[in-house]
Amino acid sequence: MADVREAVTRLAREQSGRVLALLAARFGDLDLADEAVQDALLAASQWKHVPDNPPAWLYTVARNNAIDRLRRAAVERRRLLAAAPDLTARKPFGDPEHDATEEEPMVVEHSEVGDEQLRLMLLCCHPALDRDTQVALTLRLVGGLSTPEIAAAFLLPEATLAQRIVRAKRKIRDAGIPLSIPQRLDDRVQALLTVLYLVFNEGYLARGGAPGIRIDLVDEAIRLTRQAAELLPDSAEVEGLLALELFTHARSEARFAAGELVLLDAQDRSRWDARLIASGDAVLARALRRMTPGPFQLQAIIAAYHAKARTSAETDWHAIVRTYDQLVVMMPSPVVELNRAVAVSMVEGPEAGLRLLDTISGLDEYYLYWAVRGELLSRADRPEGALLAMERALTQATNPAELQHLRGRLAAFGERVKP
C-alpha cells in the first residue's frame, strides 16, 4: 500500500503538470483538464498495484475523463436545445463534438510536450494574476501539489488557498488569459523565475521550523526550476537560478546545529553537500558560456565563491565585492546594497561597511538591515550601538529560528556592554 501511495504521489508531482498541459492545450479548457487530471489521480489512489507505465496510464485515464465530461455536457446541451431552441440557438464555445472523441496516438513528441508545459508555466505566472496567486497556481497545476499541501507549506488556511485557486481559474477562463507563448517572452520568463525563487526561499527559510510536517518547497522549487531550464534551453538566467538554488540548498544541513540557526561564517563546511555544489558548478558553467549575464547568474556566482571556500577565512571577498558591484548595476535594490555592504566590510573593515549602510534608504523596516548594522557596530567595537540595532532587528523579525538567533546575539552584545 505504501508503494502505491508513493507511486501516486510521484505521479502527481512529476507527471500531472505535463498531462494537464497537454489536455489543456488539446481541449482549450484549463478547468476541464484540471478536473480530468484530479479525477484520474483519485482513481490512481485506488490502485491495487502500480501499472507498468504510470504516466501513460495517467494520460489515458485523464483524457478519457475529459472526453466523458465533454460528452455529458454535450448531451445536456442537446436536451436543453430540444426543450428551448430559441434560448440556446447560438453555438456554444468550444463545441467538443468534432475533435474530442477521436483517438490520438499515445506517444507524443517530446518537443511538443515541452512546449505545452512551458505554456502552462507561463500561464500560471501571467502578470494579470497577483504574485500570491501565481505561486499557488504554479505549485498546484505545474507542480502537482494538492491544495492542502500548498496551504500547509505556506501556513495558510486551506479555504483561503482553495479560494485563491478557484478565483484564478475563473479569471483565466472569463478574462481570456491565453495558453500561448507570449510575444514578450523575456518579461514573462522573468515572472516565472521570480515565482520559482519565491517558492525556494519560502521553503529554505522555513527549514528547521517544523521539520517533516511541511512539504519540502525547496525540493519542489528545484524540480520546477530544472523543468523550466529544460523547457527554455537558451535561457542563461533559468540556469543561473537553478545554480543559485543548488548552491544554497547545499548548505541546508549546516544551517542548523542542535536546532539553532548557524550563519554562513560559522557553519561546519564538511556538512555542505558536495554533490549539490558540483551540480551547481556544472549548471552555472553552462549558464556563463551563454554570455548573457543576469541577476540570478551573478547571485549564483557569489554563492559559488562561498561554496568554493573550504573555511570561512578562505572566502574570496574581493571577488565577491566585484560581483556585487555588477549586481548593484544590474538589479539596483537596497537589499543588494545591504549585501554588498557586508562583503565590503569583510574586505575593508566594519567602518567601511557602516559608511555604506548609511547611504542605503528604504530598509528601516527590514530586520536584516538592523541585524547587519548590529554586527558591524559590534565588530567596530561599539557595543552600545550594536545592542540598540539588534533590539530593533528583534522587533521586526518573524521567523522563529532567526528570532532565536537574534536573541542570542542580543544577549552576547549585552554581556559586552555590562560595566
Partner: protein, 119 residues
C-alpha cells in the same frame, strides 16, 4: 472576446484650445489610436465622458431612490471614458489598452459577460 477598457484619470488632462499646435498633437494621437483599433478590427465603441461633477447618481436601496449630485464613487481617479473592443485574448486586449495615448491614468480592462445586441 469583448473587453471594456475603463479609463480612470488620475489628473485632469490639459485643455488645449482648438487650432493650437498642442491641440492638433493631442487630437492627432487619439485619432491615430482610434484608427488603429478600427484597422485592426478591434473597435466596437468608445467615448469620452464629461467631468465627474456633471454626473448624477441614482442610489436605490430597499426600493427607494435617492438622487446624488455626483459620481457613484468619490475618489482621486475619475472615470473619464471607455472603449469597447474585441480581442482574441487578454494579452491582445492589454496590448491595445496599453497603446492608448494617455499620460496618467488607470486603465481597467474587463471582459464582457455578454452584450444585449450580440445575443
Amino acid at each position: 472576446m469583448e473587453y471594456m477598457i475603463l479609463i480612470a484619470e488620475t489628473v485632469a488632462h490639459e485643455q488645449y484650445a482648438p487650432g493650437t499646435a498642442e491641440f492638433e498633437q493631442y487630437m492627432g494621437a487619439w485619432m491615430a489610436y482610434n484608427q488603429s483599433l478600427m484597422d485592426g478590427g478591434n473597435f466596437i465603441g468608445g467615448g469620452r465622458l464629461q467631468p465627474g461633477d456633471t454626473a448624477t447618481t441614482i442610489r436605490r436601496s430597499g426600493g427607494a431612490d435617492t438622487l446624488i449630485d455626483g459620481p457613484f464613487v468619490e475618489s482621486k481617479e475619475q472615470l473619464g471614458g471607455y472603449y469597447l473592443i474585441t480581442a482574441t485574448d487578454l494579452d491582445e486586449a492589454l496590448r491595445l489598452a496599453a497603446a492608448m495615448p494617455i499620460d496618467d491614468a488607470a486603465l481597467e480592462v474587463r471582459p464582457l459577460a455578454f452584450r444585449s445586441e450580440s445575443l
